[in-house]
């Protein structure tokens, strides 16, 4: 294999200039004549110099040699030689830059971030591009963004590279690889470069249609951060706040964790954390009023990543769950009434400003607005073209045991007088297309469905519970209890988990109104609440507090945190397992051939300066009289 190549081999024709150069040299070879008193000293000088210089014959025509060397260097530079560091002669190279939170980590105090190190590798590749090679940049974290399409415009690429910043989110290569695969359809390529710190999933469900070059930047230093934050309701009506800390090194790290409640600094805990020991700290927080919790970790010594040293949690005030039960469903009323902390209503109060948390409605009854609704004995209107009642008895043949509603619920031997069957040609997939999920399967059709509608959750018990043995089963009160827990969870009264970066949690606002969103690092954008008054899908790329304002007034204030232990632990993977292949991390090597013409041009300038110094500096031929 040749280690040297030329991008513009045609420029070799310029070597023919050697002939006129040599001819002109000898035609012009008329040295300036200088009369001297005597040649005696000069003869001895030359004699001495010849004896001591092995290249004297060569030096006799040193000027010609220099001029030939200069011409050869310039012609070689014009041929655009390159050092063949890329055996595949890459023509197009997409570069995926990991911009997840771990890429903000530092190797040492005062060092640049991992992203800057990755960008420097990309920058070197871009600078070495020749006119025929193209690079595309893809920034990747949880999502992927094509920063710049395939181009050989170095200025464009370098400017685009500078705009890439770290987002305080996790890593997932899938979307970036899908994007690359889509790009390959329009502009084919066979190699792709991934620049990351290695803090990426080790298993990716993706068929690689190209070769992935996985290069890892220098690992970051030790890190200590908050990994998870959540709060549980206690029987005494308080919140138990659980905080778990993670560290990236086996060496124990120390720090101080402070709890700030509604702006007031509360208790502080000294913590010792290592990669093998991730302590969980518990704080008691009163539940009588809403509380904005901020947890701030101050590690002792160097900390590689700052974004995981703070976490936010919003706690709602404790209250009883409001449940409305159709009077026609006494079994549900009875079962819910026996559960603590639930107020069971027979009729919704239209004047009440407190929304319902749970509604259990029978067939033919209009369902009120509630966070969780269970429809009993009715088929949703949009499913009437897919399923229908069947007067034959039915049995539950299977059910989703992992569904929260069916936790510890057994439907074996459940008898149903009136079952449900699929209409001809219809099957479960048709229900899924309408965003229904089957939780209980009957002999000929579904028996229990689940559907999420925004922040609301609906369950559909498709058979009439009174015409089944369900109310008499041990699992019935358990299922109702699960339903109550789901409602409590949806109302934020059972468990609250800290919001993570990437997207702001849904915020109830005025329908159709546009709000300004202000976030950390000068983040600004607008969001309009939908017709139900929900502002959703607002990106939250950085850790911190986001304020939704209208006319200068704060309408909502949300804190989002990193809360990704995998990022905090700075775990790196050496191998990524795809569907069919495994990709190992490779040493940093060039995927773009190293151009040599700048070096040749620099040497040519040096040769030119040497020639000037030796032959033209004293062009006045000093010593003449």
């Amino acid at each position: 294999m040749s280690f040297l190549g030329f991008s513009a081999i045609g420029a070799a024709a310029l070597f023919s200039l050697i002939v006129p150069l040599v001819v002109l040299y000898f035609l012009k070879l008329k040295r300036p004549r200088l009369e001297v008193p005597s040649l005696m000293l000069w003869r001895s000088v030359l004699q001495d110099n010849r004896v001591n210089s092995p290249f004297q014959r060569f030096k006799r025509n040193f000027l010609l040699v220099l001029q030939l060397l200069l011409l050869i260097l310039l012609v070689l530079a014009a041929m655009q030689p390159y050092w063949r560091t890329d055996p595949h002669n890459t023509h197009r190279l997409p570069i995926i830059l990991d911009t997840s939170a771990s890429m903000s980590a530092l190797a040492a105090a005062g060092d640049t971030s991992r992203l800057e190190a990755a960008k420097q590798i990309a920058r070197d590749l871009i600078r070495d591009l020749d006119g025929h090679q193209q690079i595309a940049l893809i920034a990747c974290n949880i999502t992927a963004r094509r920063v710049v399409p395939f181009t050989s415009n170095k200025r464009l690429l370098l400017d685009a590279l500078d705009t890439i910043t770290v987002e305080h989110v996790g890593s997932d290569l899938t979307e970036a690889l899908r994007m690359a695969r889509a790009m390959a359809r329009a502009e084919p390529f066979n190699r792709i470069l991934l620049l990351s710190d290695g803090n990426i999933p080790s298993r990716i469900d993706f068929d690689l249609p190209f070769h992935l070059e996985y290069q890892r930047v220098k690992p970051a230093g030790g890190n200590l951060g908050i990994g998870t934050v959540n709060a549980h309701r206690t029987r005494s009506g308080k919140w138990s706040l659980f905080v778990r800390l993670f560290a990236s090194t086996d060496t124990p790290r120390t720090g101080t964790l402070a709890l700030i409640r509604n702006g007031v600094t509360g208790p502080e805990e000294n913590v010792v954390v290592s990669a093998r020991n991730s302590p969980r700290l518990v704080f008691e927080v009163p539940g009588d009023a809403a509380a904005k919790i901020e947890l701030r970790l101050t590690p002792d010594g160097f900390d590689a990543m700052a974004c995981d040293n703070v976490a936010f949690l919003a706690l709602a005030p404790m209250r009883r769950v409001r449940a409305l039960v159709d009077p026609a469903l006494p079994a549900f009323h009875h079962a819910l009434s026996s559960i603590d902390q639930i107020d069971v209503l027979n009729k919704a109060d239209p004047k009440s400003s407190v929304p319902l948390d749970l509604a259990v409605v029978g067939a033919g009854t209009e369902a009120p607005e509630a966070a969780v609704t269970l429809h009993v004995g009715s088929i949703p209107v949009d499913l009437e073209a897919a399923i229908k009642r069947h007067d034959a008895s039915s049995l539950a043949v299977d059910w989703r045991r992992d569904a929260p509603l069916l936790d510890h619920v057994n439907f074996a031997d459940l008898s149903i007088a009136t079952g449900v069957v699929y209409l001809p040609g219809k099957q479960e997939a048709d229900l899924e297309n309408l965003r229904y999920e089957v939780l209980v399967y009957g002999r000929h059709g579904p028996l229990l469905l689940q559907r999420f509608e925004g922040s609301k959750q609906r369950f559909y018990l498709l058979f009439d519970s009174d015409q089944s043995t369900l109310p008499y089963r041990v699992g019935f009160p358990v299922m109702v209890s699960n339903l109550a827990r789901i409602a409590m969870y949806a109302a934020g009264l059972l468990e609250v988990t800290g919001s993570r970066t990437h997207v702001l949690p849904r915020v109830p606002l005025l329908p159709g109104v546009t709000y300004q969103v202000h976030g950390p690092g000068g983040y600004r954008r607008q969001v309009t609440a939908d017709r139900k008054g929900i502002a959703a899908g607002v990106p939250a790329p950085r850790v911190g507090r986001y304020a939704l304002t209208m006319g200068g007034d704060d309408k909502a204030n949300l804190g989002v945190s990193l809360l990704r232990p995998f990022e905090t632990q700075l775990t790196t993977v050496d191998q990524i397992t795809f569907t069919e292949v495994k990709v190992n991390v490779t040493a940093q090597r060039r995927l773009i051939n190293k151009p040599l013409w700048p070096w040749l041009a620099a040497i040519a300038i040096v040769v030119l300066l040497v020639e000037w110094w030796l032959f033209h500096r004293g062009s006045k031929v000093a010593g003449t009289r």
């Binding site: 040295r31 300036p32 200088l34 008193p37």
Partner: protein
């Protein structure tokens, strides 16, 4: 000094002030190569002067007029009274006026120095001879031996009439001088000494003829420190031979080594033959050379 009117100067070579100062100086010889003729230099031999030297016993054949009769009366033995002999020294000025001396006012400086030595010699009652080296064909141009201050005019006219040119090597010029010269003393050779000939032989011949050799090398500023660069074709001013030099600037350090080594060689050559050697630059102020360097080196007293 240089502001004196040329019309009132005795010579174009030296100012009157310089002449006046030189008239009070004498040549400082290392040895005493003198002649039997009466002069200012004391001889090792006893002679006819009035200055008492020593006594010695009478030997048959001695001139009885030199017997000290007072001693004879006291001791009854004859003793001769000896007096110091004062002899005259020959001073030969040999000026190299070949083509190589045409450069950078080397010849004018050589003529000025020759005139200065000549004035010192004539003022000291020496016998002065001058010779100029030019062409091989025409041989040496000579000033016949002369003495006394009245001969200064002849010396100045002889030197002022000197024109540069010719290709006679220095050693041949010295040979030609010795071929015709008679008398012991000092020979002052004023030249750039840029010759490839055998100066050893010429030095030996000079020494054996009873002449103390005073070598004075005069080099131009660009001979001492040439400012050359690039490719050059050097032409010898005397032989018209050429030498191609490439990257001349690179050779300057070697050139300096050779020039200094050659100067040391010339100095050794003169000193080994009882003489003196001094290298001066053609652009060095004349007063500094005459009344500082030459005095400190003992050439002039």
């Amino acid at each position: 000094m240089e502001t004196e009117s040329p019309h009132r100067r005795l010579t174009t070579l030296l100012t009157n002030t310089q002449l006046a100062r030189l008239a009070r100086t004498r040549l400082g010889g290392m040895r005493r190569f003198t002649n039997r003729s009466q002069g200012e230099h004391r001889s090792h031999r006893s002679g006819q002067s009035t200055e008492f030297c020593d006594y010695r016993e009478y030997s048959p054949g001695d001139d009885i007029r030199h017997v000290d009769w007072n001693i004879f009366a006291r001791l009854h033995r004859p003793y001769l009274k000896l007096f110091l002999e004062e002899e005259r020294m020959h001073v030969v000025l040999l000026v190299d006026a070949s083509a190589s001396m045409r450069f950078e006012k080397k010849l004018p400086r050589a003529l000025q120095l020759a005139a200065a030595f000549g004035v010192a010699a004539l003022s000291g009652a020496e016998v002065l001879t001058a010779a100029v080296i030019n062409d091989r064909a025409s041989g040496l141009r000579r000033l016949p031996p002369c003495k006394g201050r009245t001969s200064m005019r002849r010396l100045f006219d002889f030197l002022e009439a000197t024109e540069p040119g010719g290709d006679t090597p220095l050693e041949e010029g010295i040979d030609a001088l010795l071929h015709e010269h008679r008398g012991r003393g000092v020979v002052l050779v004023l030249s750039d000494y840029l010759t490839t000939g055998d100066l050893h032989r010429a030095g030996n011949a000079t020494f054996s003829r009873g002449l103390e050799i005073f070598g004075l090398q005069i080099l131009g500023p660009t001979e001492i420190d040439p400012d050359v660069a690039g490719d050059l074709r050097l032409i010898d001013s005397e032989t018209a031979e050429h030498l191609d030099v490439s990257a001349a600037a690179q050779l300057m350090s070697v050139y300096q080594e050779h020039r200094k080594a050659y100067t040391r060689h010339l100095g050794r050559l003169c000193r080994q033959r009882g003489g003196r050697f001094l290298a001066v630059a053609a652009d060095e102020p004349l007063d500094q050379v005459l009344f500082d360097r030459l005095r400190r080196e003992g050439w002039l007293r």
